[in-house]
Amino acid sequence: MTNQPLVEIKNLKKYFPASQNQVVRAVDGVSFTIRRGETLGLVGESGCGKTTVGRSILRLVEPTSGEIRFDEQDLMKLGRGEMRALRRRMQIIFQDPYSSLDPRMKVGSIIAEPLEIHSVGNRKERKDRVAELLRVVGLDPDYANRYPHQFSGGQRQRIGIARALALNPDFIVADEPVSALDVSVQAQVVNLMQDLQERFGLTYLFISHGLAVVKHISTRVGVMYLGKLVELAPAEEIYTNPLHPYTQALLAAIPVPDPDAKREAPQRLGGDVPNPIAPPAGCRFHTRCPFATERCGREEPEFKEVSPGHFVACFLHE
């Protein structure tokens, strides 16, 4: 184990072409690191670019610019073959358990696919490995002969996790893995992911649209808004001492499971997320920020460390 982070992203940008020579700035200069064995939660509204960040790390989308390092290798400079070999070490779990499994393949073939692609073992060994993986994710090994449509959302998500684990990866991007599940099942899947992390020493990038879900699993949490990281801090710090007004608003939006609980006047956000084709000048959040000053519309706040490990991009905390 070295102290070098497993994943390191510097100034990542991804612009998607839109109509009439315009571009959507899905990700616009994001930098962070993920340490070995930790879970970095990445939170933000839909359209803020969090999914694009996750997929860029796996090079499922080709970034416009920036640097992505995985275990000290620059992914942007790797050739096809090298990248393919590296894919054994990084995997992804998807949000939609219905679209992530091929409906025409049996569960056994779905989980064995990574082994086949990387020519691991013979037929018998692969079959054994599939049974083992099914047990690991808490499913009956006999399910290998069934089709995905015979399972519930939670079970299907477990199948997706088994597929991601097949090659013993170091790093998994979990792209809203529980957002499509019932609340009762969400906790089970999050707990499973935590168990697996301990057991196999996994590192996660856990993407979610709400702070509530990532609370239990994250070591650190990053908050994104309109293609930029606005705050990044250890998980406890984010929940007890949120500095950015956007983070505060997200926290206030977590429902409290107690009808009598008195809450401080919640800071509701007005309006919608601005168009990422033409993001606001200055601080991107100033159009919806309750504390915005004239300066916020002119200058862009720098993303900097305000206390050890706590980064924020806001003029309120200079």
């Binding site: 499922l60 992804i92 499994l101 091929d102 025409r104 597929r163």
Partner: protein, 275 residues
């Protein structure tokens, strides 16, 4: 499948059996010219008898045997044309839809449009006239114009299927493009292709009959339904059975494949199912 589809399926099975076992089932050699009684009028000479239930043509050949052997040619043309154009169309369409970008712009933006605007039967006539009439040239001509339909359909399917997360998952696992297309895209795109193939059989059988009718299909004396119809024209008044039976064969085949195609479409697509 709905009732019409089942009826169509039965008709198709019957025609395939006839086509495959024609040498065993047909009472005569379709090329054998049997003597006609010269003392009778044309009408009397050609009309159906116990020995020749569909009658004889002007050269004394048994029409029933010729219709049965004609099924061989029709089915051979249908199956060959559908197979060739479906395979080519599927490969080109899948590449076009899956890769997108400049590949798609070239294939669907340019190649499809080169073939599409021609009235297909005219293009086939021109090709056969150029290459010379023969069974293989006929199949070639019909395949060259036929693949575009499959390619367009497959492109649309590939565009749809590639957006599913299981394709992204395969890419994240390091699967090759060929593996993704063959193992993930094709199995999830095959249903509408089957419907298209069934309708394509009908189209190919009809096109073969049309071209043979025009003398651009299988050269005589091979027993093609289209050619038989053409031969029978001169005897329309005195011996309509020469026209009726091959015509009926063409009609039944084409109708049956259309029924099956529509039946399959309905059966495979639950959204269109009637109560």
């Amino acid at each position: 499948m709905n009732r019409l589809g089942k009826v169509g399926l039965v008709i198709i099975v019957v025609f395939f059996i006839v086509a495959i076992f024609a040498p065993l089932l047909a009472p005569y050699d379709p090329r054998e010219q049997m003597p006609l009684k010269s003392n009778l009028s044309t009408e009397e000479r050609l009309k159906p008898t116990r020995e020749h239930p569909f009658g004889q043509d002007d050269l004394g050949r048994d029409v029933l045997s010729r219709v049965m052997y004609g099924a061989r040619i029709s089915m051979r043309v249908g199956v060959s044309v559908v197979l060739i154009s479906a395979v080519i169309g599927t490969m080109i369409g899948a590449a076009s839809g899956y890769y997108g970008g400049w590949v798609d712009r070239f294939l669907s933006g340019f190649l499809f449009n080169v073939f599409l605007p021609f009235p297909s039967i005219l293009l086939a006539i021109a090709m056969v006239a150029f290459l010379g009439p023969s069974l293989n040239n006929l199949i070639l001509a019909l395949s060259v114009i036929g693949w575009v339909g499959y390619a367009r359909l497959m492109r649309g399917q590939a565009l749809k299927v590639r957006e599913f997360d299981f394709v992204t998952a395969a890419r994240a696992l390091g699967a090759s493009d060929v593996r993704i297309i063959v193992l993930h895209i094709l199995p999830n795109a095959i249903q509408p292709m089957i419907v298209q193939a069934s309708l394509g059989m009908a189209g190919a059988v009809l096109a073969e009959a049309s071209l043979s009718f025009l003398g651009l299909g299988v050269p005589p004396p091979a027993p093609s339904w289209g050619a038989m119809l053409n031969d029978a024209r001169s005897f329309l008044r005195v011996a309509p059975q020469l026209l009726i039976f091959p015509g009926l064969a063409v009609m039944l085949t084409v109708m049956a494949f259309n029924f099956v195609g529509d039946g399959l479409r309905e059966w495979l697509d639950p959204k269109q199912k009637r109560q």
